[in-house]
Symmetry: C2
Subunit: 684 residues, 2 copies
């Protein structure tokens, strides 16, 4: 169907809404919405299947605005199509408490698939969505039942394509031949510093071709609706490659400042806004004005989307008849219910069991639960043999013609691409049928910091298997030994950092991580062997903290995590030889411990005696749970790990020495209050 | 000159030393040294100019082993060429206290240019070295005096090239046409997970061509010494593009496991080590055995390097005669001396001056010192107008034919490439004549975490101008508002995080950052205006912490940083209205404050009254300086910043309320000790 005046009116309505919303907020980015409105109209009107009344319809096409600063484009569309986003919401763009924050947040706004704005994340999330779709489709589709076959459409700007995270994800997407991914690159020659020729002169399409993508160039993104439509059709027809369409546009199209960075990040001046409206045939005295025809045009598409969902539901009913098991699996996973009794597979240890590295304990957990939990989609950033993230019989997630796996595979070879891996996992989580986990060294989770904080902000259930978690990795040395990493991750809200000390704690960490559907987890795991603790049980450790060794006559409490807990237990004997009694507590997860009752917490870290913390990282933050801190506020060293532990005095003797200093130092303070007692509570 | 048997003996000596050292350590990576020994021999013997007796010779060619795990390759070369690295040092490979740690650390080992191992960093550092070389050459070279004309040679593996940081740096290097950069890509088809076809099937050379690089492929990296030599000659002849040479090699060449990942990351088995030696004509009963001829061969090259330096010194003497000012500038910068009296340019404020955003204060500092400190090489990750990192009259560092700058330019348009920017700054610092600084939003310093920790570990003087430092950025919302970032950076050893509260604090931050030649700094700067404080002076703030408002009858000390200090000062009045007296301290830099005398620190945060900290970030770590903490242990919000501050109660009333709760809560503890008093000191 040819494009009509009404199509253009709709397009210009999007532009004018972006002008009005940024003007009302006196803040925001009108340029991208004005330049991309035609492309968005084509994608949403001609290609996307979606139901505004059910934004979570499983087989919907996904749309990701990777250049999230242009979010008024997406908000305008969501409103016009009838999502639960009113014109009032648009009027409250960028205001406290609105559903229209300055960058799109998936957990806030219906119809937003992933949280974008931090550049490079959205397009990398989209690779994850495409992976999840391909994996689910290959798993659940059956002859006659092309049940899961959606596409993911992405808008991406120059900024996103300069980011390394996007390069990593794009390279992997090409390798994986993700034909369900279509990226439209807003080639407007402008970034914040001005013309892209100041820093970005590479040949983007040639680069993506090198990655194995299908590439096209549509030279007129301002008027050439037909050209773009044709290009997307071609892109859809290419089934074994992701597609990128370079769309040359003018940023801020219609503004007096169009084509300059002046229109990128601030509202138009009032007279410019006025002339934009006049130019596009709108009444400049009206604001947030949408004609009924435009609502009508978009409602038709919304209705078609609702009908498509109804049709899909009918197909799903038939599928249930023929493939009852698969259908109930889809529903179970969609509703984030774990299979009944799955947790009975978690390994349980007794204190007489041998010492095992916690990365190895993690491998055992995965081996035990992997078949029961088909939603687990694993992987590693090229450290499979070190992270121990794979299991016996695992099939690689690979393009079928690679002959080394297929799309039903549940193990992803991410390559040495930690940041891309993190962003891809967020996308996998966003698709809705998987729980992604993946491995790297703890120190290199930092490479993915940008994605990790978005996991937490967007409430993605993503699990990092972060091995080689300290100076205990030994010879690889300071470049690989985390010092600040754990403080960093503990400071991220809504992130559960676990550092299990033994087998039961490791099982507990997985239990909580797998049942926390709106929280990412990082499991810090040792390279070296750790003994099984006396009082450790899954139930104890699930609380995030518990008493490993109790003594009602203790003069000091020693609190620790992971590989140091066992050494603290040994320090008790050293102290006992000098007639000093001590308690030991293990605190494998602060975030979870914090959520326990104050009574419980005080039973672990009580009043009355001073508390010493012991952990081979920066001490930053440990003051929250202890009166004195023994840690490592410097970089580590290269050598056999036992030598390094000795060098830094993380030995029973070194701990005992500091425990005695702690007792002595606190003897004349009355009362000694647990640091858990606070004058006021924090706002949440 | 054709390659002789002695050349091959030398090459095989490198291989065998790598085998012996990894066997002795029972740890390490023999594969890369064995595969790359021929290439290293060609580069060091035929191309590099260097003087082992003076590893810091300014115009030396630089060598960067980006795949740092292969460091035995480099250690072996350094030893054989006569650097201060003995055969005993090789025998102590990967041992505590040795000069041969598991990954090369520039500050530990003579001849190591940059610390590598974390993948992607080295090659990105090399882009920085190349930038610094081009900038210094354009600045100081004169007709007849091609004084600074060195090349940077890089070895890089598959892993490095998969990392986004390397993609960012490579794209910028192509844009900048860095003809002095030659990268040799070890195409051995192996990463830790096995064959590269599991995750890395892109066309690397096509990608680099898209970036604007000159590309070549040498198909026989095992025997084809002449081919590689020719390719490097061609690469050197290409003056307006960086070069990458894909060198196809066999990892672990000579081992029974050659060509597999089995030889990547662990020592050879004893019988394999034995057959390697036999195969290469060595006595398998000997270890760390180097023939005098091999030492002799390499000594000739070392002697040529020493002669080249002598020749350069003579040229420099002549240069001094003709260009005395330039010559003394080179010396001054090489010796890291700042020009006398430079600090007199730092702006000074009085408390009656108007309120100014600290990003704007930073702009003023830069404007005042930029001409006095030509070693400053600035830039921004495409946020120049927001970070305010540029100055009037700045020339862009751009390739001359771009017509938008030239190589004398001192302002780098990094593009939206934060991680690349961080790694490039490390390289600029490593070259030795510049102090790099660059801007981005504080939240996106996290994207560069991998490079930032290496700045600290390698003791690079690098300055981050990190604006939009909190919820005070307002409407951009939670995706852009740092919460955990400052805790992360404060936990990094040898990093100075500054959060100035006003103009004098901002000047102090720059003063300390510019005079700390072995420490990176991050300056956290506000988007919103901040009042000038009563008791703030550069001298006070230089101590990292001081008293802003003293009161000998205070019932509470309030300690804060940056934009919250002014609000705390206002809270005094709110408290006074209720008859409560309070002190206020500002703590703009913890790392610097920690280095003051205990007496001084206790004068700021004394015993006797409880201390409340106030900062709009995660409270993590503030327990170190305070009894109670008011912070933001959740993500922020999108809206005008004043609304957000109000929402989270960072107002005089909100602070006063918590100050009263603090006083009340601590009234029955005796004595109230300053948290600065500790039972024992940390090991450093
Ligand atoms: Ca753009
Ligand atoms: Ca390789």
């Amino acid at each position: 169907m040819p494009y009509t005046d009404l199509d253009w009116k709709a397009i210009n309505t999007i532009r004018v809404l972006a002008v009005d919303a940024t003007s009302a907020a006196n803040s925001g980015h009108p340029g991208a919405p004005m330049g991309l409105a035609p492309a968005a109209h084509v994608v949403f009107q001609k290609f996307m299947t979606f139901n505004p009344k059910n934004p979570k319809f499983l087989n919907r096409d996904r749309f990701v605005l990777s250049n999230g600063h242009g979010c008024m484009l997406h908000y305008a569309l969501l409103h016009l199509y009838g999502y639960d986003l009113s014109i009032d919401d648009l009027k409250h763009f960028r205001q406290v408490g609105s559903k229209t924050p300055g960058h799109p947040e998936a957990h806030d706004t219906p119809g937003i698939e992933v949280t974008t704005g931090p550049l490079g994340q959205g397009v990398s999330n989209a690779v994850g969505i495409a992976i999840a779709q391909a994996q689910a489709g290959a798993t659940f589709n059956k002859p006659g039942f092309d049940l899961l076959n959606s596409h993911t459409y992405v808008f991406v700007g120059d900024g996103c394509l300069q980011e390394g995270v996007a390069s990593e994800a794009a390279s992997l997407a090409g390798h994986l031949q993700l034909g369900n991914l279509i990226v439209i690159y807003d080639d407007n020659h402008i970034t914040i510093d001005g013309d892209t020729n100041v820093s970005f002169t590479e040949d983007v399409l040639a680069r993506f071709e090198a990655y194995g993508w299908h590439t096209q160039w549509v030279k007129d993104g301002n008027e050439g609706l037909d050209d773009l439509e044709k290009a997307i059709e071609v892109a859809k027809s290419v089934k074994n490659k992701p597609s990128i369409i370079k769309l040359t546009t003018i940023i801020g199209y219609g503004s007096l400042q169009q084509g300059t960075h002046g229109v990128h990040g601030s509202p138009l001046k009032p007279d410019d806004a006025k002339q934009v409206k006049e130019r596009f045939g709108f009444d400049p005295s009206k604001f947030f004005d949408v004609s009924p025809e435009v609502y009508g045009l978009y409602k038709e598409t919304a209705d078609r989307g609702a009908a498509a969902e109804a049709e899909w539901n009918a197909l799903f009913e038939k599928y249930k008849g023929s493939f009852a098991t698969e259908a109930s699996e889809i529903l179970r996973r969609y509703e984030k219910r774990l299979p009944e009794g799955w947790q009975n597979n978690l390994p349980v240890y007794s204190s007489t069991d041998g010492a095992v590295a916690s990365r190895k304990l993690s491998e055992t957990v995965l081996a035990k639960v992997i078949n029961t939990l088909p939603e687990l989609l694993g992987g590693s950033a090229d450290l499979t043999g070190s992270n121990l993230t794979i299991w016996k019989g695992a099939v690689d997630f690979q393009p079928p013609d690679s002959k080394i796996g297929d799309y039903t595979g549940r193990y992803i070879r991410y390559g040495v691409r930690e940041h891309g891996m993190g962003a891809i996992m967020n996308g996998i989580s966003a698709y809705g049928l998987h729980i992604p986990y993946a491995g790297t060294f703890l120190n290199f989770v930092s490479y993915a910091a940008g994605a990790v904080r978005l996991s937490a902000l967007s409430q993605h259930q993503v699990i990092w298997v972060a091995t080689h978690d300290s100076i205990g990795l030994g010879e690889d040395g300071p470049t690989h030994q985390p010092i600040e990493t754990v403080a960093h991750l503990r400071a991220i809200p809504n992130l559960q950092l676990w550092r299990p000390a033994d087998g039961n704690e490791c099982s507990a960490a997985y239990y909580v991580a797998l049942t926390s559907h709106h929280t990412p987890s990082v499991l810090c795991l040792s390279r070296q062997n750790l003994p099984q603790l006396e009082n450790s049980t899954i139930e104890h450790a699930m609380k995030g903290g518990y008493v490993v060794h109790e003594d009602s006559e203790a003069a000091v409490t020693i609190v620790s995590t992971g590989s140091e807990v066992g050494i603290c237990v040994d320090a008790i004997k050293t102290l006992a030889a000098e007639g000093i009694k001590a308690r030991v507590a293990s605190l494998p997860c602060w975030e979870v411990f914090d959520s326990q009752s104050q009574d419980y917490k005080l039973s672990v870290l009580p009043d009355g005696v001073p508390i010493l913390s012991v952990e081979v990282y920066s001490t930053l933050g440990w003051e929250k749970y202890s009166h004195e801190q023994f840690g490592l506020n410097r970089f580590g060293a290269s050598g056999p790990y036992k030598d390094i532990y000795k060098k830094f005095e993380f030995t029973p003797e070194g701990i005992a020495k500091r425990a005695k200093a702690t007792i002595d130092f606190w003897k004349d303070v009355k009362p000694i209050r647990s640091p858990l007692k606070r004058a006021f509570t924090q706002l949440i």
